[in-house]
Assembly symmetry: C2
Homo-oligomer: 414 residues x 2
């Protein structure tokens, strides 16, 4: 088998842990597998380097910042290769430009264009474990680029795709993907298998186990992703193409995102182009608008409500006042906002074939007296905005209401 293993910063945070990772690699290779390992920087290292650069300038989207920050992974691959050899294994490190992981030139959040798998295959042919720096690439001009926070997940899956690997194992400090946050709901269950689509929704909606782009890549190239713990040997969660059995499970997971804020603009003229004007002003300010709701027209005017990242709420209001005073009022008197909201979502491919999921969700929330402020649906998820104080209560109620504490086979249908 050809297996790509990816280890995050916590898993290589000390020399002892690097030696532990080396042992896992050597053990896997001893079973006759070809192993490529992708590693992040030692935990804390990327922040240390960013702090150094911040003493000179603040903008992280800079060619030179990527030159500096990419050294974190460079040190990790060198140390891991040494540790593997110390255990009697054969290993060779590869940096982004050596693999080579070609990206666009968007420094600090570049996207992978292609990977040259030949150097890694040559390492396999020489009996070596290929130790590959995560998070970094190289652009057409030969400049070092980085892929953004969590980019090592993406490197891992991209390498697996380029090699046609049998699996990409993502090692982390939890032992898989859970039906919801176990810190909030103690009887949350580890999910054994989940589809790419569901994982994408979960990742977008607040579950932080996998970087979204890595899941997109896995889906695009059909790479089976195995999320598991680097501190134990128990199987984790497989992220795979959708399977027949998955549809039997109506809801796979429940998430909550607390870093949202709600903005409402009242008394908007109900004529074409108003929504576009409002949202263009925000888009020009690089503010990402998530849920959007426009009420039924009333007396020729309408209201619009939308959510933005909590940290951008203040700036969003300023932008609206400055850019479209004709819509929001000179002093923004038609704008109101609420920072004390959260977005609770349920995700499941089973929704496609099961009616009544939304009804059950709203019933469960109503039975706890939780008022729903906004609703947004997609093919495989339903999100609602509720007051932030209900976040944990809503999670627990929905988790129980959809029977997620039970094994999938015992959950029954709606």
């Amino acid at each position: 088998m050809l297996i790509v293993q990816k280890y995050g910063g916590t898993s290589v945070g000390t020399i002892e842990r690097i030696q532990n990772v080396a042992k896992r690699c050597v053990d896997a290779a001893a079973k006759g597998h070809n192993i490529a390992v992708v590693v992040s920087a030692m935990s804390g290292e990327t922040n240390r380097l960013l702090k150094l650069t911040a003493q000179i300038q603040d903008d992280p989207n800079d060619r030179e910042v990527d030159v500096i920050v990419s050294t974190g992974e460079q040190v990790s691959v060198g140390l891991l290769a040494l540790a593997i050899r110390k255990l009697g294994g054969k290993a060779r490190s590869f940096l982004g430009h050596q693999v080579k992981i070609l990206t666009d030139s968007t420094f600090s959040r570049a996207r992978i264009v292609s990977i040259d798998a030949e150097p890694v295959k040559a390492a396999f042919a020489a009996g070596e474990i290929a130790v590959i720096a995560g998070f970094q690439g190289v652009d057409e001009g030969g400049s070092i680029t980085t892929l953004g926070r969590g980019g090592s997940d993406t490197t891992g899956v991209a390498i697996a795709a380029a090699l046609g690997a049998d699996a990409c194992e993502i090692y982390t400090d939890v032992d898989g993907v859970y039906t919801t946050d176990p810190n909030v709901v103690p009887d949350a269950r580890k999910i054994d298998r989940i589809s790419y689509e569901e994982m994408l929704e979960l990742a977008s909606l607040g579950a932080k186990v996998l970087q979204i782009r890595s899941v997109e890549l896995g889906m695009k190239y059909g790479v089976p992703i195995h999320v598991r713990s680097s501190f134990s040997d128990v199987p984790g969660t497989w992220v795979v193409p959708e399977e027949k059995e998955m549809e039997q499970v109506v809801v796979s997971g429940v998430t909550v995102a607390k870093d949202e804020a709600k903005i409402t603009v009242e008394d908007l003229p109900d004529v074409p182009g108003v929504a576009a004007k409002l949202l263009s002003a925000l888009a020009d300010g690089a503010i990402v608008v998530d849920m959007i709701l426009q009420n039924q027209s009333w007396d020729g005017t309408t209201d619009m409500t939308f959510t933005v990242p909590l940290g951008d709420r203040k700036r969003a209001v300023e932008i609206l006042k400055g850019q479209v005073p004709e819509l929001v009022g000179k002093d923004g008197e038609r704008i109101s906002w609420d920072d004390d909201v959260c977005k609770v979502s349920i995700v499941g491919v089973g929704m496609r074939s099961h009616a009544g999921v939304a009804k059950r969700m709203f019933t469960v929330l109503a039975s706890e007296n939780i008022n729903i402020q906004l609703i947004s649906t997609s093919e495989i998820k339903i999100s609602v905005v509720v007051a932030k104080k209900y976040a944990e209560l809503a999670l627990r109620a929905l988790h129980a209401g959809f029977g997620l504490h039970l094994p999938p086979s015992e959950r029954g249908t709606l």
Copy 2:
């Protein structure tokens, strides 16, 4: 003008100092010069990285150790490029593989084979200051290599040679090359101009201002090297091809090296091949023998004395006992040694045309009652081994004896 500036670890040891270096670069560029800057790792960084690797394994001559250690310079070039831009200058960083500095594959002490000056010229054409990582290169296979301690000097001079630069300025924490160690002889004078040959001898004999290989490269390609302080603007020492006026100066500098030990083997059979046998055994053990003296034969036997680095003395004796017991006696009873010696040398191209330099040297030492144990001469230097306790006394006496406290024009001849 096209100027290469090289800054050592102390000169870029803090963010503030990096900003200071950036100002120097921007000022030089503002005068209309094309500037390439070569920088070392921030002081302490290389040792920190070596300590990390030492927690896994001890051998520094390893491909992966170079991968790790080279990150020190990578961080420096990124930070300096940022600092230059913050001051309004234009800058771009280059790593060893981007320049590209092609070396052999002797990890941890690779030698430069060639440099591709085109990327740097392209940066100049774009009005940019080229910020180049010292100490590192890349081998034929694309692996990162490093050039050994002080390797950034070599990078600087090699870049200057490849670019056909008008000068290579080596910035350091002293303001030039002195006639001797100013800590020992307070009236030591800064040397204004010195020949490559003399600088090579001084560097070999204990003056630590420049890495020897950088001087060799400067001599080979005729690069004028300007050794000066990064903390002031006073002119330093120019290392240049030999000039007519230099010959007027009989002695340019006096040095002492204290890390030497003397080994003597007595009662050696006076037949061909004995010296070769002794020295081969040591060479096989990678012990560098410096001065070698064989006495006149006496009764068919002879004595041989030589010096080795102090740290290798013990191992040298063990090797001789183990490898050539027929020459040194089973228990090494014919070997004696002295760790309390030092090597005092005078250097000057003027020796070529002036007789009597040795006589003056021995007279000066005799007048201080300093006994000479070994003598070794080359075309432009004379070295003597004396008891270590006389090191400072010998330096001061020779410095005064050859009038080195006076300006060159007032020293007179012998």
